[in-house]
Subunit: 414 residues, 2 copies
């Protein structure tokens, strides 16, 4: 059986031609549940924040010019007229020669333009002695200093961390519109695969991929729908894929994509609707048999059965699609530069990904040491590595001591 392999870039182009990865919908949720979600609306301030001139200290609201020239030995005397507590609308209008007691967070009374700190005054009956001058606006957060009414304070597409959630609370939003999470159905195929938790019969192995890929979906900002393990049977696989396509936005399978008699995925995918299989093998190592189908406007990523290959191809092809469907940015790969510990060879004519461990030499130099995955089935090596080095199709090798860019797992297949 012969397949024309696409290059990685061609495969990505073909996927983009068939599927426009965009957020699918919007939902309104409580702000308290919005951490790590993606904002689906531009947020403008409906009012100035703060809405009024606000004291940032405990002390006395004054007219700054009344304090000019004040010194410790030559204090300025002001008459205290009333007090403004936090949360109280001030009813006083401040005039020259007077001061109003004020607490942190309270609104400055009309006529006041600055606040003298408690520490810089001496209280004497109904007067204060100001020992140090203030300038206009000193110890005041002016109305609109944080946000101006009508100003766009956060934009659509913003991932919400503690800081942005603070901004949303500041403008008074208790609920917020975010993109819905793309639902991603995940299943494994293979007659030798059984689900963890069951007793292991001879010649069987536990399923890894439906679990690691479900977690990888979460890492990408999607919501995994775990479907389980299914045998190499075309009719059964057609049924389960139809169900998966009906209930999910994206489908990710693993196994059954090679060229053997039991590799039913390409055939099954071809039978479910147009255009069917759009990528059938990619010139990469590992991951060559990776297959992608477009069925009824939805994508099915059929990844190799080897766990490390499955995760790598997921990262290369499925992750950016899911990220964009979740409204997330796709450029969040963390990279470091290091020196190759040994010469590394790519597979002939295939974009090659070499798993490496990072080590600091005594000199402080960071080196990247290939981890002998040997067999792309080994999941422990992947768990022990720090990242990988990507070698282009047309490069002969990376030499010992060459500088390489290591794409780190911690963010990338975090």
């Amino acid at each position: 059986m012969f397949r024309k392999l696409l290059t990685l870039d061609q495969a990505k182009q073909v996927i983009e031609q068939h599927f426009s990865a965009e957020p699918l919908g919007v939902e309104e949720i409580p702000l308290l549940e919005a951490y790590d979600r993606v904002l689906a609306q531009n947020v403008t301030a409906a009012l100035d924040i703060p809405p009024f001139n606000r004291s940032t200290v405990d002390g006395y609201a004054v007219k700054a010019e009344d304090t000019f020239g004040a010194e410790e030995n030559k204090p300025v005397k002001l008459k205290v007229c009333g007090v403004v507590n936090a949360g109280e609308a001030p009813r006083i209008i401040l005039t020259h020669g007077t001061a109003t007691e004020i607490v942190t967070g309270a609104s400055l009374p009309e006529g006041a333009d600055s606040v003298v700190m408690l520490e810089d005054t001496d209280q004497k009956d109904c007067d204060i002695h100001v020992q140090s001058p203030v300038t206009r606006d000193e110890n005041v957060m002016k109305a609109g200093a944080d946000m101006r009414k009508g100003e766009t304070v956060l934009e659509k597409g913003q991932l919400l961390s503690s800081r942005e959630i603070g901004v949303l609370a500041a403008v008074g939003l208790a609920r917020v519109r975010v993109y819905t999470l793309p639902r991603v159905a995940v299943l494994s195929t293979g007659a030798e695969i059984i689900e963890p938790g069951k007793k292991l019969p001879p010649a069987k192995v536990y399923d890894i991929n439906a679990y690691s890929l479900s977690a990888a979906v979460q890492e990408s900002g999607g919501k995994p729908i775990y479907l389980g393990v299914f045998p190499d049977n075309v009719a059964k696989m057609q049924r389960i894929l139809k169900k998966a396509l009906a209930s999910a936005d994206v489908v990710v399978t693993s196994g059954g994509v090679s060229v053997g008699p039991k590799d039913i995925m390409p055939k099954t995918l071809g039978s479910l609707g147009k255009p069917g299989v759009i990528v059938c093998g990619i010139a990469i190592k590992p991951g060559k048999p990776a297959t992608v189908a477009s069925i009824g406007g939805k994508l099915v990523f059929s990844l190799p059965g080897h766990p490390a290959s499955a995760l790598l191809v997921f990262h290369l092809l499925a992750r950016p699609v899911i990220q964009r469907m979740a409204g997330r940015k796709t450029n969040s790969v963390l990279e470091v530069k290091a020196f190759a510990a040994t010469r590394m060879f790519p597979a002939k004519g295939r974009r090659t990904f070499i798993t490496v461990k990072l080590k600091h030499e005594k000199s402080g130099r960071l080196i990247a040491e290939p981890v002998p995955t040997g067999l792309s089935g080994a999941i422990t090596t992947l768990a022990k590595a720090d990242g990988f080095v990507e070698i282009p199709e047309n490069q002969q090798f990376v030499d010992e001591d060459d500088e390489v860019v290591v794409q780190l797992f911690k963010i990338y297949l975090p």
Copy 2:
């Protein structure tokens, strides 16, 4: 009112003397829900993974030495005896001069030590012609190659990403023991503060901190319990803090920690049990009024009311405690080196944190430009900044063009 300020390091020491931040408990959860949780058990492989010698390709299981000398023009002929499918225990014992058809993932029959790829053979009736030799173990993943029976494959304290979840599935675990999430009660105080979503009366502002800090608790690996906004009233605050201490593992409040008449937190905290307030002001800027109490073996972090100060002090003091209680590592701050865009001055005698925005100059040089928070109350500046520069107590200033370390928000207050 006079307070002796502790240095930041002293404050951390005092907290450590009073509270040993360790995971509080363990729970068993489905592996499918274990993403981003922390493993609470050492996991050993109960069996070899894979449990048998496994073919990594479709082809023919052979004795490698039978193929020695095979060439395209001088193929070696072997008699095909049977087939091993994936998931089938092989019943054949392979002898010299024979080969067994085998698919990817299937168990090698006894007597076979390697697999010839389908592509390297010609099938003729009951024979195959092998056109290229294989070496012993070629195209075979040997029993135990990924994990050896009894080997510790993951250790207690491991944060679970897609890769580690794959390892746990591989050893057959459908459920896994993880540390329970520390419950962190979060509340705001202040007469001028009201909850977002309500209509804003004059002289009031929306609460920011209970929202931003609840998200910061999630960023630290804890489970926030949002309690809301409470007025500056000692008796009411005593009641709510008692409730919070009874239902949560840690309590985080904001506001009411300065030295004004409405700053009820130190007094309230002092009334609830021994030893009470253990940190009462820290020589940092921003964040000076930060207060910490230890009550009945639990910590209360009372942060300043200014939103940016509250988040910063949370990061400096509360975050590492919550991370350790969650079983997480505390050293996950992401740093970059940059050049100071301007001279930066610390506050006299206080460890100073200056919020900065990173910019690439045309030359490619990365520069750190202070963001004029001006007033530590501004939450938008914090949301627009990339990180901060920390200036030690004893340093006079950071000069323009000096190299500085920028601690990034994206990981740190992610």
